[in-house]
């Protein structure tokens, strides 16, 4: 059974945990100033930004399992540097669907921490459903003209370029790499709820060469990268839950009320038991979904892959929110202030939901993806009368 970490993964886990313990700090105020903030550069120096990028693009060719090992450590921080949007999503999309020129221009620079590219795929009327994308890409000669609005572009305030999803025709969503400064593109920066930054993008008659399009970035390719991102978010949440459970246990053991520690209250003890159970379950389903993604690489079963990712994010997203809220509640008055970092974890979970869709949305997707075959056991030799 390959449920244990490999020794390389174990090393990654330890070095990431060490770095986070030393360098991770609560996310308050803007975290990075420009893409070459000190912590981001350190992450690049550790090889973490290059880790999952393909070897031919200067990466280390690791997979989603390694990204999750790293993300779990970052989640414990919490570290809110834009690993998820820049490396997992934008890097993943470029690696999967970028032209040779795009890959050469952007991937090595991304891996070294020099530049930042992030996806701009959410819209107000589409939510997290890329199928509802309303931004239009109209053919003009050999190029394109884009019109539309993007919202909630995480780290979009400090990115050099954005990968924008747009509707090329009724059934096609295309992805374009647009550099900062392109005419007709107006970013509007704002702080994000997790203490980092983001932007909205207004696209008005944005003229692009065909070379701006990521030729291989189909919806299927996006789906695969997005599934990876969901698991990376799960792993990050698991790391956060671990920290929150530990912090709450410590706090309730030392806080005295009515002459005894809070932790002597059976009701609070059971609540912490439930937090711990939720964390274990989150860890389990994340691991299961990682295995499903690895499996789908072989089988090409995209439905099973997407359903496993949706299942994991539904369960973990719900659990992480609940654990963070319970941690706040059990910290009492202190939990609802900026004096403790507990609230920062809650805000970061909300940011993950805002970036990738809330748990309820993934649960509904999971239900919609229930195929006709699903649920019928292939090996069951049962004959039930009357059915």
């Amino acid at each position: 059974m390959n449920l244990q970490l490999t020794s390389e993964q174990q090393m990654l886990r330890e070095s990431a945990a060490r770095w986070v313990a030393e360098r991770g700090r609560p996310a308050q105020g803007a975290v990075t100033v420009g893409p070459v903030g000190a912590r981001w550069r350190e992450m690049a120096d550790m090889g973490w930004l290059a880790m999952t990028l393909p070897e031919r693009d200067g990466g280390l060719g690791q997979g989603v399992a390694e990204a999750c090992v790293l993300a779990e450590a970052l989640g414990a921080g919490p570290v809110v540097e834009p690993y998820l949007p820049a490396v997992v999503l934008a890097g993943g999309l470029l690696a999967a669907g970028g032209s040779d020129a795009q890959r050469q221009r952007w991937l090595a620079a991304l891996a070294s921490g020099e530049t930042l590219v992030v996806p701009a795929t959410s819209e107000r009327a589409a939510g997290h459903d890329i199928g509802l994308t309303a931004t239009r890409a109209a053919r003009q000669g050999t190029g394109w003209v884009l019109d539309g609005d993007k919202t909630a572009v995480a780290a979009g305030d400090i990115a050099q370029a954005w990968i924008v999803a747009a509707r090329a025709d009724e059934s096609t969503i295309a992805f374009f790499l647009i550099e900062r400064g392109t005419a007709g593109v107006t970013p509007r920066d704002f702080p994000s709820i997790d203490g980092a930054g983001a932007c909205a993008l207004s696209l008005r008659g944005v003229r692009l060469d065909d070379s701006a399009r990521l030729p291989g970035a189909t919806r299927a390719a996006f789906g695969q990268v997005n599934d990876q991102a969901l698991l990376v978010a799960c792993a990050e949440s698991v790391g956060a839950m671990d920290t929150l459970v530990k912090a709450t246990v410590e706090y309730t053991k030392q806080r005295i009320q009515f002459g005894r520690p809070l932790a002597a209250n059976q009701v609070l003890r059971h609540r912490m038991a439930d937090m711990s159970i939720a964390t274990e379950e989150a860890r389990s389903i994340t691991l299961g979904a990682i295995l499903a993604l690895q499996d789908a690489e072989g089988s090409g079963n995209a439905l099973a892959r997407t359903r496993a990712a949706a299942a994991a994010r539904a369960k973990v997203g719900m659990a992480a929110r609940r654990v963070a809220e319970e941690a706040v509640q059990l910290h009492g008055g202190m939990g609802v202030t900026e004096e403790l970092t507990i609230g920062v974890y809650l805000r970061r979970q909300m940011a993950l939901d805002a970036m990738l869709g809330p748990a309820e949305w993934h649960l509904r997707r999971h239900a919609q993806l229930r195929g006709a075959r699903d649920g019928g056991s292939e090996d069951r030799n049962v004959s039930l009368a009357g059915t």
Binding site: S122, A125, D129, P191, Q257, L268, Q329, G333, V336, T337
Partner: protein, 403 residues
């Protein structure tokens, strides 16, 4: 629920509505909508206080002799519900609902004559000095000490979670006046302080939603005239308990919940999704129904309590029930609000209050307060007795103490 009202109550309701149409300005109700803290800024809440005072309606809970309205309990419910539903700002309770009743019951004639008219008119802005860093729910363990020095007490210590200490000119506080070996409930006294007194410093505490609403207050040899004590020395705990009981059944929240629900419904209708809006999503519609039926039940519970009180019955631990369910329903609603925002939940605005912020905000007025409200609503199940303590109280009424 107006079907349950008598014709004279309907007439009263219509009078309140007419008043609200005339006096509750769009500016005030917009500011209330954009308020993300529990209590609105004085520039909003206090403005409304003055308007109500001019109408003679600022203190429905006070006896008529002190300036109350003489309304029945049902009329008070109607007034509270209508104003909240119309989007009026909440009034600061520290004067009207907390120190006011205490002064009426325990104050000297001089204290009554001085303070009560000022509370009514809003001439003083009060804050409450109860909690301390080491004593949250367990109030009786408070440590701030007042030592007698001639005709003064000299106060040293610190209070926390002090709402609007940075706006208030007066504080009422529980302090420890007994010696080390006085039983802990008997060594507590109730004092009135001038917030301008030398030795007082205020440290802001930002909430999880970034609001500056509460503070820590430090006392460094602060001198308070003994004449500013309410009741006897050592009577403070009894006074605090009286106030808690006075508040029983006194917190009417269904109007506010209904107002919040309507704001969210508007947000859902104004948030496009594909060709329709978020309210077309069956999962969202179901979540709205869940909240709505909870509000229906709480609203009717409030009315039942008013009816019981009016006929002289004791409604029991129902104030715990109402506080508990109110906080849970509010939290369910703020959750739903965040869900409605979808990707826009990423947006954060630091400026407070929101109504004073940036003329061209990233999000519109409907969406803007949602995430800070959600975060600050985490406190609803903590302040005023945590949900765990409310359930302890209900269980004690139901089961007694069984060990």
């Amino acid at each position: 629920m107006y079907r349950s009202l008598e014709p004279e109550d309907i007439a009263f309701r219509d009078e309140v509505r007419a008043f609200l149409r005339e006096h509750l300005s769009p500016k005030l109700s917009r500011a209330t909508h954009l308020t993300t803290s529990v209590f609105p800024e004085p520039e909003i809440g206090h403005a409304w206080h003055r308007i109500l005072w001019q109408q003679g309606w600022v203190a429905p809970g006070w006896p008529v002799e002190y300036g109350g309205t003489g309304w029945s309990l049902v009329q008070r419910w109607i007034f509270a519900t209508e104003t909240a539903r119309a989007g009026a700002p909440a009034l600061s309770p520290m004067g009207l609902k907390m120190v006011g009743p205490v002064i009426m019951r325990f104050g000297s004639p001089e204290q009554k004559a001085h303070y009560l008219p000022r509370i009514l008119a809003g001439d003083d802005y009060w804050c409450q000095g109860y909690s301390e860093p080491g004593s949250g729910s367990d109030l009786a363990s408070l440590q701030t000490r007042a030592v007698r020095d001639g005709e003064h007490y000299v106060i040293n210590g610190t209070k926390t979670w002090t709402t609007h200490a940075h706006h208030a000119n007066r504080m009422f506080a529980l302090v420890r006046t007994g010696s080390e070996d006085t039983p802990r409930h008997r060594g507590i006294s109730f004092l009135l302080l001038d917030m301008q007194s030398p030795g007082i410093t205020i440290r802001p505490i930002r909430t999880i939603g970034s609001d500056h609403e509460v503070n820590q207050v430090f006392f460094d040899d602060v001198r308070v005239p003994v004449a500013q004590r309410i009741g006897e020395e050592g009577q403070g705990w009894a006074i605090a308990k009286y106030l808690l009981e006075f508040e029983r059944g006194g917190s009417l929240n269904s109007g506010g919940l209904r107002c919040h629900l309507e704001e969210l419904l508007r947000l859902a209708r104004h948030t496009p999704r594909g060709d329709g809006c978020m309210l077309d999503d069956p999962d969202i519609a179901l979540a709205f129904s869940q909240v709505e039926i909870d509000i229906d039940a709480l609203e009717m519970t409030e009315l039942r309590v008013m009816a019981s009180l009016q006929t002289g019955q004791n409604p029991g631990a129902v104030s715990s029930l109402m506080k508990l369910r109110w906080s849970e329903i509010e939290q369910a609603m703020t959750h739903l609000g965040v869900r409605l925002l979808g990707p826009d939940a990423l947006v954060w605005e630091h400026t407070r209050p929101l109504f004073a912020a940036d003329a061209r905000p990233v999000l519109d007025d409907l969406a803007r307060p949602v995430t800070p409200k959600h975060l600050n609503a985490r406190a609803f199940t903590i302040f005023g007795g945590t949900s765990e303590i409310q359930r302890d109280i209900i269980a004690r009424e139901l089961l007694g103490t069984v060990y």
